[in-house]
């Protein structure tokens, strides 16, 4: 299972967009937010959830794999960095490849930008800015053990299925314990809970 990473808990999200504002304050892409706030059941519920880069582990970051300019670096600790400004050609291959719809292209600058897990902060042992400020803990940074100690009984998923492809991610999503066999929010079937295969 993953080490210190980000957990997304849609059940706690209040849609306040503190994460979006906080992301703008991050020194590595100051002035731009790399977080989307999504509404899952518009018109009948106020339910919302933040979407951050899932930092895919296996297969290694589709965005990086398809980059023709080798602009997207995956660090040894599994963080998929935003595009290297000296290499990125703004072709948007990464946008098409990402199964979670995360990278953004600044067309004027011909540059891809996305969440790099606040590398300027996590390198110092700090939590990413969004998870630091999230008023509700819908974004949480730590280990799964720390999360479970704080929220007894919480279950997380870090493996998702897209058609016939499986993607294991460095960022995990909290799923309702009583619904482990059901799709997680967003319609993605859960295949693994806390490291255990739950498909059977």
């Amino acid at each position: 299972m993953m080490g210190r990473t980000m957990f997304i808990d849609p059940g706690r999200c209040i849609g306040c967009q503190a994460c979006v504002s906080a992301c703008r304050e991050c020194d590595s892409h100051r002035g731009k937010s790399m977080i989307h706030l999504d509404y899952t059941d518009e018109g009948s519920s106020v339910a919302s959830l933040p979407t951050v880069c899932m930092h895919c582990e296996d297969p290694v970051a589709p965005c990086a794999e398809v980059c023709p300019a080798d602009a997207i670096l995956v660090t040894a600790d599994g963080v998929v960095q935003q595009a290297d400004t000296t290499r990125c050609i703004g072709c948007a291959n990464c946008v098409n490849a990402c199964p979670f719809g995360v990278p953004k292209i600044d067309l004027q600058a011909k540059l891809q930008m996305k969440c790099n897990l606040c590398y300027d902060r996590t390198a110092y042992g700090l939590a990413p800015m969004c998870a630091t400020v999230c008023p509700t803990g819908a974004l949480y940074y730590g280990t799964v053990e720390e999360l479970q100690a704080e929220r007894p009984g919480v279950q997380v998923a870090d493996t998702f299925v897209f058609g016939e492809s499986e993607v294991r991610t460095g960022v995990a999503m909290v799923v309702p314990a009583e619904r482990v066999q059901w799709p997680v929010p967003g319609g993605l079937p859960v295949v693994e809970i806390n490291g255990k295969d739950v498909r059977r």
Partner: protein, 774 residues
């Protein structure tokens, strides 16, 4: 408290040696407990100044990032007890106000409203103001001049507002915009407990087994408190939300009571009825600690669940569910906010909640008690020390001879010189309409947006012969004034605020004010000096005012005498009463079962439900209710200038149920007896079909408060913002939906600071759910 992990990245957190601090900052020691040997300057010379957010009553701790040149340029989360690093979008963006291009940096003046405001010298602005005060008071009497303060000011300044009005201007007319906030809760708490504050600290929420949130949209108005709510839920606590809308917190509640706005007291009376019927009262607690129980019991017998179901428009079973959940819980807490307080029976609504807590013995224990959530940063502290029409410092009554004598001794005036009680904020506006008040000084408030029934407010202000306003941005109200004094923003001065727990926290100065800007304290003292009362206003700093405030509060229930700036910096906040410098403060009230009434008991009050002030009829069959969005603060004078917050919620909308046949974004005209306005529809099932909701942070022509009624609670004098009769109609064309107005003098924030990464929605805001279903 754990050390702040910011210490790990090498930035300066605590400049212990003041000589190392950039110009305009002070050598603060953070209450977060960073060891003295862990700081050192980094290569950029950045300093983190510990302080608190300027906005709501949670008062989150934060650091302001200050550059080598002494300018605030960013924010950093702070591990303070209250918020534990969390911040909401308002808190994150608050720092952008400090050096915003819209800041007023010179006094503005005009001698009549026919002229444009123009920049003048401080001397000219002060001289004109003082001559107008003298003229109006000589011609029409001292009470013809009024002062309206603000509850976003530091407590030192609110103390000074009360003293300034009564000693320098010698007028009885002083009140404040906290009158629009939580005075109903204050009135109820005084009646029941004889103390005007919440009973428990926020941290008690984590210990409760049942949390009742009544008219409190925690997710949007106090987002950082959600961590406490979710913490309680993690422990298995039952969450009950009473709100006509499905708010973000109501969405996850065990019981969401979507009652009709304006029916709260009928509902809570019925809940108590069930608690009695099912034998769930704590009779031993009632016998020992309460008076009035028999009368309350007899009264609620008239409110069976079937009657509440009829009045409130909810299933009767929900009354039973709430009663059982609340009364059977080993520990239960009730928090309320403007949803039940903004009513003509706001005080009574709060009393019915207090009756519930009392009857079940859920008072004065860890995890059991009551509280009110404050809208403004200093909504609690702003009324404690004499800014309110009927109160003197320390919460003393201006009608009580002994209290008057005590304060006159401290102020150095004769008791005969101290004016009588004044009138409330809305009543003062009516008096302005009638020319009973002909001159007004407003200090950091914006009634043109925040008061109900805009037409009346505008007429009242237009009728005044002289109007001066203190502000750091040119608000809609300031644009109406004859004189506008440019004053400091929160990060440019030091002072204290009391949050919704009655915890006094200290704000620190992070940068020098721009050239041409003075502190509110300086301006009030200078006007007082020119009026010949300078000896009583010889204050050179906030600290000097605070020392007098501490003395003025000594011996009262609201005792600050043991609170010092140094203690606040060491502890991270102290809850009053704190009668001596070795007293730890009082985070939780009534732990020994006694209240602040002479008999030590809770005085339960009989409450009879009555309908709202604005009657329904065939033309106005629906309910208009108003409230806040997470991105904006009160009148929006501050937040409507910050790009990120404008982008998040660019304009108001009318939230309507799909059953009315509107499509999302379609223009909907909302009509009340005060007028009509057109808004884009936000169609959602998260609201009752008989109710329409409009957020109120914008001025005309998209002002919710152009439609609301200026009816007041007879005791608290709070306006009934939360309910008035209305109808909704299809508007002809989308161009009837006016563009969101910008504040006078508004300049967009520089693009480099806030850049847009997503396109804005065409008409309706993001969030809250949208639908084209009909």
């Amino acid at each position: 408290m754990t050390a702040d992990p910011r210490a790990a990245d090498g930035r300066t957190i605590v400049p212990l040696d003041p000589s190392l601090a950039p110009p305009g900052t002070r050598g603060f020691r953070d209450a977060g407990g960073i060891p003295a040997d862990q700081w050192h300057a980094d290569q950029n010379g950045e300093t983190l100044v510990p302080t608190h957010c300027c906005f709501c009553g949670v008062q989150c701790g934060m650091y302001l990032r200050v550059d080598r040149g002494g300018k605030v340029f960013g924010v950093e989360p702070r591990n303070h007890d209250i918020n534990r690093m969390r911040l909401c979008p308002k808190g994150i963006n608050a720092y952008q106000q400090v050096n915003h291009p819209d800041r007023l940096t010179a006094p503005l003046m005009r001698r009549s409203r026919d002229e444009e405001l123009r920049e003048v010298s401080w001397e000219e602005a002060l001289e004109f103001t003082v001559s107008e005060i003298r003229r109006i008071q000589q011609e029409h009497g001292r009470d013809a001049f009024g002062v309206l303060g603000g509850a976003s000011l530091f407590s030192e300044k609110t103390y000074l507002v009360g003293k300034f009005a009564r000693v320098a201007l010698k007028t009885r007319h002083v009140d404040y915009n906290g009158r629009l906030c939580m005075v109903s809760a204050a009135g109820a708490n005084k009646l029941a407990f004889n103390i005007d504050r919440a009973g428990n600290p926020f941290s008690d929420i984590l210990l409760t087994d049942c949390l009742l949130l009544a008219g409190a949209n925690v997710g949007e108005c106090f987002p950082v408190l959600t961590q406490y709510v979710w913490g309680a839920r993690d422990r298995g606590a039952t969450l009950i939300v009473v709100d006509p809308r499905e708010t973000a917190v109501a969405r996850t509640a065990d019981i969401h009571v979507a009652l009709k706005s304006g029916t709260d007291s009928a509902f809570f009376n019925a809940v108590l009825n069930v608690i009695i019927e099912e034998g769930l009262t704590d009779e031993a607690y009632l016998a020992a600690h309460a008076t009035g129980w028999e009368e309350v019991k007899a009264n609620v017998a008239q409110y069976p669940p079937s009657r509440a179901a009829e009045i409130c428009g909810i299933p009767a079973e929900q009354v039973v569910q709430v009663a059982r959940a609340f009364a059977r819980a080993p520990k239960a807490m009730a928090f309320h906010a403007r949803g039940i307080e903004h009513h003509t029976q706001g005080v009574e609504n709060c009393l019915t909640v207090i009756n519930l807590c009392t009857a079940t013995g859920h008072i004065g224990k860890p995890g059991a008690g009551y509280g009110t959530l404050t809208g403004q940063g200093n909504g609690q502290g702003g009324r404690e020390h004499g800014q309110k029409a009927d109160l003197l410092p320390g919460g003393r009554s201006i009608l009580n001879e002994e209290h008057r004598r005590q304060i006159c001794e401290i102020w150095g005036i004769e008791e005969s010189e101290l004016p009588a009680a004044g009138t409330s904020m809305m009543e003062m506006v009516w008096q302005m309409q009638r020319q009973e008040i002909r001159g007004l000084i407003g200090i950091c408030n914006n009634p043109f947006v925040s008061l109900p029934n805009y037409a009346v407010v505008k007429e009242g202000y237009d009728t005044t012969e002289f109007h001066a306003q203190f502000d750091f941005f040119l608000s809609e109200t300031a644009a109406n004034a004859h004189v506008v004094f440019p004053v400091t923003i929160w990060a440019e001065d030091e002072g204290v605020m009391a949050n919704a727990e009655a915890r006094v926290v200290k704000h620190n100065k992070a940068q020098e004010p721009p050239s041409g800007v003075r502190t509110d304290t300086w301006v009030m003292c200078e006007i007082a000096r020119r009026l010949g009362e300078g000896d009583k206003f010889a204050f050179g700093s906030s600290r000097e005012v605070f020392d007098e405030l501490r003395r003025a509060s000594a011996g009262t229930i609201i005792d600050y005498s043991g609170i010092t700036y140094e203690r606040l910096e060491e502890t991270g906040g102290i809850s009053w009463p704190c009668p001596s410098t070795d007293h730890p403060g009082t985070p939780r009230l009534f732990e020994d079962g006694t209240t602040y009434h002479a008999d030590g008991k809770i005085h339960m009050q009989v409450v009879e439900w009555h309908p709202p002030a604005d009657p329904y009829d065939a033309e106005h069959p629906m309910t208009l209710t108003t409230g806040r969005t997470v991105a904006h603060f009160l009148s929006g004078n501050q937040t409507r200038r910050l790009g990120a917050l404008v982008e998040q919620t660019p304009r108001p909308w009318a939230e309507v149920h799909p059953s009315h046949g509107f499509h999302n974004g379609e223009p909907v005209r909302v009509v009340t007896r005060r007028g009509s306005e057109v808004f884009p529809a936000l169609v959602t099932e998260a609201i009752r079909p008989d109710t329409v909701f409009i957020p109120y942070h914008w001025p005309v022509p998209t002002a919710a408060n152009a439609l609301t009624i200026d009816a007041l609670d007879p005791r608290s004098k709070i306006p009934e913002y939360k309910v008035c009769a209305c109808r909704i109609e299809h508007a002809e064309a989308i161009d009837e939906v006016p563009a969101p107005p910008v504040a006078p003098g508004h300049v967009a924030y520089p693009e480099t600071q806030v850049s847009r990464t997503d396109p804005l929605p065409p008409t309706a805001p993001q969030g809250r759910g949208t639908s084209e279903r009909s």
